[in-house]
């Protein structure tokens, strides 16, 4: 059964049309890679799918429901965008990982054992839990941000170059973790990656945005 559906979505930035007619369906456990030349709107597409901005046309649905039917915070808890540049809040890594439990749409506090297990899976020592998050390297922060997002148990993650600051070892660990969650929990992912080898080994399908670039500005294609 289709978990996530993107139907003829168009994306504009500041009145300039970037993408049009982007369509995609994902089943539970599916990993899809997104490709396209830089500046074509990959990040804006992910932000649109994460309902951080509105599409200018088309629709998105998770489990058959639109963001407005679920409420936007609930949508984002289910379809979670993880930015390329990790953002850490003041305080320790543990405080960062616990942050979402404050939100009404999330509620549950993450399990300490599970957090430790996740950190270890991503080659981070459990001791980082008590370190100041902003003092970690970007690569470490990128992994903490991924754990923070997986901690709210989304159905779909939208990963924007999730391994851009990682060495090959850590990259492989991140790929393994997402793959394992896909197999055990049916997590689906849309992943922007510039590395063709990574896409080949990590994702089963690809969405090529060069076929959806808007021609001219402000004109929608019909038909």
């Amino acid at each position: 059964m289709t978990l996530f559906e993107v139907a003829r979505v168009g994306v504009s930035v500041e009145g300039r049309r970037l993408l049009e007619d982007v369509s995609l369906t994902l089943d539970a456990g599916e990993l899809v890679g997104v490709v396209g030349p830089s500046g074509c709107g990959k990040t804006e597409l992910l932000r649109t799918l994460g309902a951080l901005r509105d599409p200018d046309s088309g629709a998105v649905r998770v489990g058959g429901r639109a963001p407005s039917e679920l409420s936007f915070p609930v949508w984002r808890r289910r379809v979670t965008y993880v930015a390329q540049r990790p953002v850490m809040l003041d305080g320790t890594v543990r405080e960062n990982l616990h942050r979402p439990s404050r939100y009404a749409s999330v509620g549950a506090t993450p399990d300490e054992d599970e957090l430790r297990a996740l950190l270890e899976r991503l080659a981070l020592a459990p001791a980082v839990l008590d370190q100041v998050a902003r003092k970690l390297s970007v690569g470490e922060q990128q992994r903490v941000a991924l754990i923070r997002a997986l901690g709210i148990r989304p159905s779909v993650v939208l990963l924007d170059e999730p391994t851009s600051a990682l060495d090959p070892e850590a990259t492989a660990r991140v790929e393994d973790l997402v793959r394992a969650r896909a197999q055990t929990d049916g997590l689906a992912a849309i992943i922007v990656s510039h590395d063709p080898e990574q896409r080949a080994r990590w994702t089963s399908r690809r969405l090529d945005l060069s076929a959806h670039r808007a021609r001219g500005t402000g004109t929608a294609r019909h038909g």
């Binding site: 994460g50 951080l52 979670t80 930015a83 749409s105």
Partner: protein
């Protein structure tokens, strides 16, 4: 003067006070600060503006018309709203009206609470009490509001990534903006908290000084000053809180999306 009361000042006394400005002018000349001209204009403005206000207040107090009184209060509030925005580095559409409504709701209600319920003036909108009290309330609130407004707009504008990170993990607009909101409200309240802490130790407040000069007993003047400080604390904190809430309502849409393009830099 032994029996207290106001000592009336005549033209001669005011002229002597003018001599004090000449001292400042002489300093400027001696040190070549080239401020004599500005000083002269400023002194003239002080005289003209205060005399005008004096005449207007005399008239307003004398005619005792609620209509005129409320027109004056409206003008004062509008001017305070403008001043609050003028100091902010960022603004948003509707900020002017928002600041005005905030000041009306927080400033006028606290002032009338004091004149009606605490001082017990009859009628509660007695111009002689309402106008000076509202003036103090507005002066303090506008400082607080402009600090809070600037802080919350700057924070939301500069920390879009942090706020969107929280939104993308399931936070509502309010949950994502909470840190910005509390920081900004706190920022606006610091000046009034500082002045509450040092009041009487570092300086005697103007109103209390005025009452003592008029011959009031210091203890009576102190009681008034306590009421005034509490009134200023209440109105400033309400003002800071309301204006930050207003900004969050304006800068997020109903779909819990942050619209930083609604924040206008200047």
């Amino acid at each position: 003067m032994a029996d207290g009361g106001v000592i009336p000042l005549g033209p001669v006394e005011l002229a002597i006070a003018g001599g004090l400005v000449l001292v400042a002018g002489a300093v400027s000349l001696a040190l070549r600060l080239k401020l004599e001209h500005k000083l002269g204009v400023a002194a003239l403005r002080t005289v003209v503006q205060l005399l005008l206000v004096g005449y207007v207040l005399e008239w307003v107090f004398r005619i005792q018309s609620p209509l005129v009184l409320f027109a004056v209060l409206g003008l004062m509030t509008a001017a305070a709203g403008r001043a609050a925005l003028a100091r902010s580095s960022r603004t948003f559409a509707g900020a002017q009206l928002g600041a005005f409504v905030t000041l009306v709701l927080t400033g006028l209600t606290t002032t009338f609470a004091v004149t009606g319920a605490i001082i017990g003036v009859r009628p509660w909108y007695h111009a002689q009490y309402v106008i000076p009290l509202l003036g103090m309330v507005l002066g303090n609130s506008l400082t607080g509001i402009s600090l809070s407004l600037d802080a919350v707009l700057t924070d939301l504008d500069e920390h879009r990534e942090r706020i969107e990170m929280e939104l993308s993990l399931g936070a509502t607009a309010w949950e994502a903006a909470r840190d910005s909101l509390t920081d900004s409200a706190r920022r606006g309240m610091i000046p009034i908290l500082n002045s509450m802490t040092v009041v009487g130790i570092v300086s005697l407040p103007g109103m209390m000084t005025g009452q003592i000069l008029q011959g009031a007993s210091p203890l009576e003047a102190v009681k008034y000053q306590i009421v005034v400080m509490f009134m200023l604390a209440a109105s400033t904190s309400l003002g800071c809180m309301s204006v930050t809430l207003l900004v969050v309502r304006r800068v997020f849409n109903e779909r819990h999306q942050l619209r930083t393009e609604r924040i206008l830099r200047r």
